[in-house]
């Protein structure tokens, strides 16, 4: 894996006005980098801002504050339509709900080819069709499926269509927003393996958003843990699983069930209480070990370090 930065997110904030005076800080100043060719997992409980982060990066929302750089170019600054389009082609998204995210009135062919049309990637109908058929086969469907409608497919097949759709425009970076959480467990594995295979063959970079920790560990090279709009811990996935430091990460990991009755009998869930933190100063994101970052205050930093060295 090369260590070239593909995406740099700096202090990204996304606040939503919910009333005259109330603001929801869905994402509140997070910073991370994603390297070329890796899979970055983003985990956290429902409503912690994972999906919002993904959507802000791809500009489905206009960020309140902060920087997103893709290959060194600022994404959120003012840009011409043509530049935006080009950026849009390089970055694609796979959505959570394969039932709702495909237009029911369009054939699979048209759904997949729409991206091609928007970016003018094919010059004639035959080429367009050939491209779509190729994509369908790449995600494990038949080319005969092209003329059918989304409702004729099962959930897993639909998610494959969603993936083919994202791949259509030849992106480099793909944001997978809980791509498997709406699927059966048996299908989840298929889809995750498909994503892995595609990555191996074409060198895609993924931002994989999920709340299923075991699945995230399986697919990700590095993992970021989010809690209430903030990134609380970030590390290589093995490191994070072996040496979780932040209490919230520990709590999350203790919640993973395993198909092992002995283990399950002894599994103790540690619950997380935000009040346990040292409130003497604003916590900062600090590097506790090489490439292992935690959100903590100075005092906590020392405590965590001691704990790690034990």
């Amino acid at each position: 894996m090369s260590q070239e930065k593909l995406l740099e997110v700096t202090n990204l904030k996304q606040h939503f006005k919910t009333g005259r005076h109330s603001v929801v800080k869905a994402v509140d100043g997070i910073t991370f980098d994603i390297y070329q060719g890796e899979t970055f997992g983003l985990v956290g409980e429902s409503g912690c801002g994972k999906s919002t982060t993904g959507r802000s990066i791809i500009r489905l929302y206009n960020a309140t504050d902060g920087d997103v750089k893709f290959k060194g170019e600022d994404v959120h600054g003012k840009k011409s339509k043509a530049e935006l389009k080009k950026f849009n082609q390089k970055m694609q998204m796979i959505f959570q709900d394969p039932y709702a995210s495909l237009n029911p009135r369009m054939t699979v062919l048209d759904i997949i080819a729409e991206g091609l049309d928007v970016h003018g990637l094919t010059s004639n109908n035959a080429e367009r069709k050939a491209r779509v058929e190729d994509l369908l086969e790449r995600v494990g469907l038949n080319k005969e499926h092209a003329n059918r409608y989304p409702h004729e497919f099962s959930g897993g097949q639909r998610q494959r269509i969603g993936i083919a759709r994202a791949l259509a425009v030849d992106p480099e970076f793909i944001i997978a927003d809980e791509p498997i959480s709406a699927l059966d467990v048996s299908i989840q594995a298929q889809v995750v393996n498909l994503l892995k295979d595609l990555q191996r063959e074409h060198g895609y970079t993924y931002l994989f958003i999920a709340h299923d920790l075991s699945m995230v560990k399986y697919i990700s090279d590095r993992i970021g843990v989010m809690y209430f709009g903030k990134m609380v811990e970030l590390a290589d996935s093995d490191e994070l699983y072996k040496n979780p430091v932040h209490p919230y990460t520990k709590s999350l990991l203790s919640a993973i069930p395993l198909p092992d009755p002995d283990y399950e009998r002894n599994r103790v869930r540690t619950s997380y209480d935000p009040a346990q933190h040292d409130s003497s100063e604003e916590p900062e994101f600090r590097e506790i070990r090489p490439k292992h970052w935690v959100l903590c205050t100075t005092k906590e930093f020392e405590a965590y370090k001691l704990e790690l060295n034990d």
């Binding site: 389009k85 694609q92 709702a100 237009n103 054939t107 928007v118 970016h119 059918r148 409608y149």
Partner: protein
């Protein structure tokens, strides 16, 4: 598909037969006869006329004769209008009503859709609220009030347009507007609600992620998905508009089928009432068939068995 249409045509004929039967017997149960308003007819003349038109026969016999004639396309003759065949009367009046109705429907629907679309895009802004007020007014105020107001101000006071009759395009303007207001209001309301819902759905986000611009999203993904409920209400509305509107035709003295219907009911002109009813019914089932077929085109999920797969 062909089989489905054939099957539907079969049901259509059955429906029409039942409607013909029902309305025939209902008509016979009505008190009065076409002759009751004619004072100058003597008892003997009345007998002769009743005998001539077969009105003295038992009702089942009359029914059998009527249905027999109907099968041959003969709707009988008018009592009131000197033995004119009902078919001729209908054929001379239907095109006028249909033309007026079609104009009103097209103008109303297109304007309504535009209004609803704009309201949906500018959701919860002053544009949306004004569009809403316009449609509430359009739905709640009956068309004859608009008709009367227009006749008085545009026709009489300003003298811009003729206030009655049918023939030139100037004469068509006011009745068309008066008729178009209701479908416009309904169209706007349905369009707005549906569009807001559709624009909030996930596949719109997908389209945006593909890089599609707003216009593309609106027309390619939005409009088509919002059309179904609109087609459902607009179908029957097309029937009621194009089969003659009693009040508007009366107000503007337009020689359409609605005006004829009213005067026939007044004079108990039984053959014309029957003929008009059957025509309405025929038109209605036909439009419903068309609407059902349209559903399949607009929404592949309701495409019917035997369609292309």
């Amino acid at each position: 598909m062909a089989r489905y249409i054939l099957q539907r045509l079969g049901y259509m004929i059955l429906t029409l037969f039942l409607i013909a039967t029902f309305s025939f017997f209902l008509m016979k149960m009505l008190p009065g006869s076409p002759l009751s308003s004619e004072q100058k007819v003597t008892e003997a003349q009345r007998e002769i006329i009743l005998e001539k038109y077969g009105l003295n026969d038992p009702v089942p016999v009359q029914y059998a004769r009527y249905m027999g004639n109907l099968l041959q396309g003969d709707l009988g003759v008018s009592f009131q209008l000197k033995n004119q065949p009902v078919t001729d009367i209908l054929l001379s009046r239907i095109p006028i009503s249909a033309q007026l109705g079609l104009y009103a429907l097209l103008i109303g629907t297109v304007l309504g859709m535009l209004l609803g679309l704009i309201a949906a895009i500018k959701n919860n802004s002053w544009v949306d609220y004004s569009a809403n007020i316009v449609s509430v007014i359009g739905i709640s105020i009956p068309s004859f009030i608009f008709a009367g107001l227009m006749q008085y101000y545009v026709g009489v006071k300003l003298g811009l347009l003729p206030i009655a009759f049918w023939g030139t395009w100037q004469q068509a303007v006011m009745p068309t507007i008066a008729l178009a207001i209701f479908p416009m209001a309904i169209g706007a309301r349905f369009m707005r609600t549906e569009m807001i819902e559709v624009l909030g759905s996930d596949f719109i986000v997908t389209a945006r992620a593909k890089g599609l611009n707003n216009t593309g999203i609106l027309f390619k993904h939005g409009l088509r998905n919002a059309l179904i409920p609109l087609v459902t209400v607009m179908g029957p509305m097309a029937v009621s508009l194009m089969t003659g509107t009693l009040v508007i035709e009366q107000i503007f003295s337009i020689p359409g089928i609605g005006e004829q219907f009213v005067s026939s009911v007044m004079t108990d002109d039984f053959a014309i009432i029957m003929g008009t009813t059957l025509f309405f019914a025929f038109f209605f089932v036909l439009i419903i068939l068309i609407v059902d077929l349209l559903y399949g085109i607009i929404d592949p999920r309701i495409r019917l068995a035997g369609g292309k797969d």
